[in-house]
Each structure stands twice: as structure tokens, then as C-alpha cells.
């Protein structure tokens, strides 16, 4: 293994149009013969009435060869990757700022009293894949494509890689990607966003991108991350007009670490695009979700709903029932004892 310098990452984000809500978590396939790892993902999501604003960033890297086999001869090459995000509808993509996350974290810390660790218009009619949007945003070279067939999309990806004069990703990576893409296409997702990044050789936290799209519920695609075999941490800041329903994160492994009402002005201070959805409201719910584990274990996407939930009443019923029953029994026995005594 040689020294890997001047690491180039290509990030492909895939979004698809569907009735169900989606937001993207980033999956990636290595182009070079390297092992990709994703240290963390962080996202802020604002959702109201089917409209979602997602600010998403991730720390992605490839270990230097010297870290893996320090005594092997040094071979200079690049570590490049293709990162993927599926979205439920055609997104608007803008540049975001890492500042939003630190501010939201600070808001949660203040309110909780405890600290929370912390995608051109070319159309190829001969194929079922068409480019619907292309723009360079900072380090990101974002391309949104519409696809209906996994094979065609994979062919497009291969052409994309060739077009950028990059080496072909390994067969395993292509197979893993195809499998996930097939799943998304089967479920009706048609829009795919590719983000090509040029990074250094060290772990980098990418400046976030802001995606705005329609979604029936708060969606965060996790399955696409499963193509990376890496231990990672995902932090989500959800801004909603009501509490999230706990059953909608049931079995996902996400844990609520903060939940509380915050002033909309505080959210506006973090990123005004997150607050735009809630115009006219003074306070909104901020919920922090954290997941830690092996990305390859992710086999389903997040589809979080808000509103009333029986799950929130169950715990109260569980502990209150025996106490209320005890009070009732005591009352009956006292009435009986003293009633008899007074006769």
C-alpha cells in the first residue's frame, strides 16, 4: 500500500421523487482502492406541512496507507469516492454553514442544561437518466439526475466517473450502490443528486449543503449510508411545530437526547432558512437525535412524523396505575373500617 496524498472525494447524492418523505443521509463508494470511513454526519431538519429544509454535513475520509501498513513501500495515489444521498422530491440546493449546527447545539444545551456532543439542464432522451440540475456550490459540484432504472443510473455513474477522468470504483462498491439504488427506485424515488468533491488527504468535515424539497414527513435516508462500512455518529437537529412521535423512530437506533420548545428567533439565529417555514410562530420544538453504530447496519430510512402519540402517555399509565390502585384500596378499607366503627 502506498502513501495516499491529495485525496479526491466525489460525492454523489441521489434523490428520488416519491409520495413518502425523504431526506438524505450520505452514502459513499470508494473509487480508488481505499477503505472509506465516515466519522460522523450532522444534520438540521426543519419540517412543516410537507416542506422540509435539510442542512447536512458529514466528516468523510480514507485512512492513509501509512496508517494501515506503515512498513509497505510508499505509493502515491489519490483516494476518491462517490457519495450518495436519496431525496423524495426535486430539491433546491444551496450552500449551508457549519455555524447552524453549533448554534442549534448551543440552544439545546442552554434549554436542556446539559451539553450535547455533537446537489444543468441537459437531457439525454435515449436513456432513462436525465440531468435536471447542475451547479458548483463551493467545494461541491452538484448534479441532480432523474432516473427510472438502476442499470441506467449505474451506467450514468460510470460515465460520470469516466467523464471526470477518475478510475473506476471497485465492482463490490458498484454492486452495493446498485442494490441500494434498486431499492429506492422500487419505492418510487426518481431523483438522484451527485456531489463531486475535491478534498485533502485528511478527514474533512464538509461544509453543509441546504436541500429544500417536498416531503410528507420528516425523512432522513439512512440505507444509502449502508454502502460504507464504518463506525459513525449521526446527529440530527429537528425543528418542528409539534413534538415528534416516538413510535416513528422505533427500532431505528436513534435516541432522543433533547426535546424542548425554543424561541423561533433562536433558530433564526442558527440559520434563517430553518425558521422560514414557521413564520408567524413564536416558539418551535427542537429535538436532538443521536445514532451511533456501524453504517452498514442501516437498513431503513427515517420517516418521522409529528403530533399526538399514545407512546408519551404509556409511561405515565405504567407508573401511575399501581399508585392510583393503592390509593383506591386504601380509601375503600378506610371507609369500611371507620364506617363500621361509626355504626
Amino acid at each position: 500500500m502506498g502513501m495516499k496524498e491529495g485525496v479526491l472525494f466525489a460525492i454523489i447524492m441521489i434523490g428520488s421523487l416519491a409520495l413518502s418523505p425523504v431526506i438524505a443521509d450520505r452514502g459513499a463508494i470508494p473509487i480508488d482502492d481505499v477503505i472509506l470511513y465516515q466519522e460522523s454526519q450532522i444534520a438540521a431538519i426543519a419540517w412543516k406541512d410537507g416542506e422540509e429544509v435539510l442542512i447536512l454535513s458529514s466528516s468523510l475520509g480514507a485512512p492513509r496507507a501509512s496508517d494501515i501498513a506503515p512498513y509497505q513501500p510508499v505509493r502515491t495515489s489519490h483516494a476518491r469516492a462517490l457519495e450518495i444521498i436519496p431525496l423524495p422530491s426535486m430539491p433546491e440546493v444551496e450552500e449551508g454553514s457549519m455555524e447552524a449546527f453549533s448554534k442549534l447545539s448551543e440552544i439545546a444545551r442552554i434549554h436542556a442544561g446539559n451539553a450535547i456532543g455533537l446537489a444543468g439542464g441537459l437531457l439525454d432522451a435515449s436513456r432513462s437518466v436525465s440531468i435536471v440540475y447542475h451547479e458548483i456550490i463551493g467545494l461541491h459540484d452538484v448534479t441532480v439526475v432523474k432516473a427510472k432504472d438502476a442499470d441506467e443510473l449505474i451506467s450514468w455513474v460510470i460515465d460520470y466517473v469516466r467523464g471526470h477522468r477518475l478510475p473506476m470504483p471497485s465492482e463490490n462498491s458498484i454492486d452495493a450502490l446498485e442494490s441500494r439504488v434498486e431499492d429506492y427506485l422500487d419505492e418510487g424515488y426518481e431523483y438522484f443528486v451527485f456531489d463531486y468533491l475535491n478534498l485533502g488527504s485528511s478527514m474533512k468535515t464538509l461544509e453543509p449543503l441546504v436541500y429544500r424539497f417536498r416531503s410528507d414527513a420528516i425523512f432522513y435516508p439512512l440505507r444509502i449510508s449502508g454502502i460504507i462500512e464504518s463506525y459513525s455518529k449521526i446527529t440530527l437537529f429537528l425543528i418542528t411545530e409539534d413534538k415528534i412521535r416516538p413510535e416513528s423512530i422505533e427500532g431505528t437506533g436513534f435516541e432522543i437526547t433533547f426535546e424542548g420548545m425554543v424561541d423561533l428567533s433562536e433558530v433564526e439565529g442558527a440559520d434563517e432558512r430553518l425558521a422560514e417555514l414557521f413564520e408567524g410562530q413564536e416558539r418551535v420544538w427542537l429535538t436532538t437525535l443521536i445514532w451511533m453504530g456501524d453504517l452498514s447496519s442501516l437498513d431503513r430510512d427515517l420517516g418521522i412524523t409529528i403530533g399526538f402519540s399514545l407512546e408519551r402517555i404509556k409511561p405515565v399509565l405504567v407508573w401511575a396505575t399501581p399508585i392510583v390502585a393503592a390509593f383506591a384500596l386504601i380509601t375503600v378499607l378506610y371507609v369500611r373500617a371507620y364506617g363500621r366503627g361509626s355504626r
Partner: protein, 153 residues
């Protein structure tokens, strides 16, 4: 002898009443204040049952003091409920409740509840024996009194 048994059982009932009530209330309060405590059912039901048992133990004291049947029944029921709760919590742990990730955060609380229930076992046994004996003696005394009254008439 009956007086000694009555006062001993009353003291022991106060002890298990407060001994079960205070830590269980603290644990329950902590769980309630946790942002999302929907996965802590074993702790919630354990603490809830211990508190119910403690309430019954404390409530039985004035009735026992007046030698009322309801007092003996309430005292014995509180001991049986605390004992049953201990067995339920122990069973949940033995059956592998702790293997689930979401329980791990609360594992220490469950173990604390089991420890509290374990410490209360001996007093519960003594109270049950004392109350049953006193209740039985009280019944025999009442029947003897009734028989004496009927004879004199």
C-alpha cells in the same frame, strides 16, 4: 405479647414504607424528567409498585394501631406486593431484559430497585408473620369475648 407484636410490626411497616417510598420516588422522578423515557417501562412499573406498596404499608399503621382487621389485611397486602414486585424485577433481569440497548442506560436503576426489594424481604417476612399472628390472636380474642357475652346472657 400481642402489644409487642403490634408495635414491632408498626415500626417495621414504617421502615419498609419509607425504605421503599424514598428511593423509588427518586428513581421514578429521574425517569419522568428524562426527555424520552418510553423505554424504561420495567423501572416505571417497578418503582410504581414499590411506591404503591409503601403507601399501603404506611396507611395500614393507623388501622393496626386500632386493631382493625383492614389494617392487618393492608399491612400483609403491602408486604405481598413488595415481594411480588421484587420477583417481577428479578425475573425481568434473569430473562434477559438487560440485553437490549435501551435498557442498558437504566440497568443500574433496575439493579437498585432489586437491591431495595431484596433488603425489604426480611422485614416483609417478619411483618407478615407478626401481623398474621396478631390478627389470628385478635380473632380468637373476639370470638372468646362473643362466646362469653352469649353465655352471660
Amino acid at each position: 405479647m400481642s402489644v409487642w407484636r403490634t408495635y414491632s410490626s408498626m415500626v417495621l411497616l414504617v421502615m419498609i414504607g419509607l425504605g421503599l417510598m424514598i428511593p423509588s420516588a427518586i428513581i421514578l422522578g429521574t425517569i419522568i424528567l428524562t426527555p424520552y423515557s418510553g423505554r424504561a417501562y420495567p423501572i416505571e412499573i417497578g418503582a410504581g409498585l414499590y411506591i404503591a406498596s409503601a403507601l399501603m404499608a404506611l396507611a395500614s399503621i393507623p388501622l393496626i394501631n386500632k386493631r382493625l382487621t383492614e389494617g392487618y389485611a393492608l399491612g400483609i397486602l403491602s408486604c405481598l406486593l413488595a415481594f411480588s414486585t421484587f420477583i417481577i424485577l428479578l425475573s425481568l433481569v434473569v430473562l434477559g431484559m438487560g440485553q437490549y440497548e435501551y435498557y442498558n442506560r437504566y440497568y443500574q436503576m433496575v439493579m437498585l430497585l432489586i437491591a431495595i426489594g431484596g433488603l425489604a424481604l426480611l422485614p416483609e417476612l417478619i411483618i407478615s408473620i407478626l401481623l398474621t399472628a396478631t390478627w389470628g390472636e385478635s380473632k380468637r380474642h373476639q370470638m372468646a369475648e362473643k362466646a362469653t357475652t352469649e353465655t352471660s346472657h
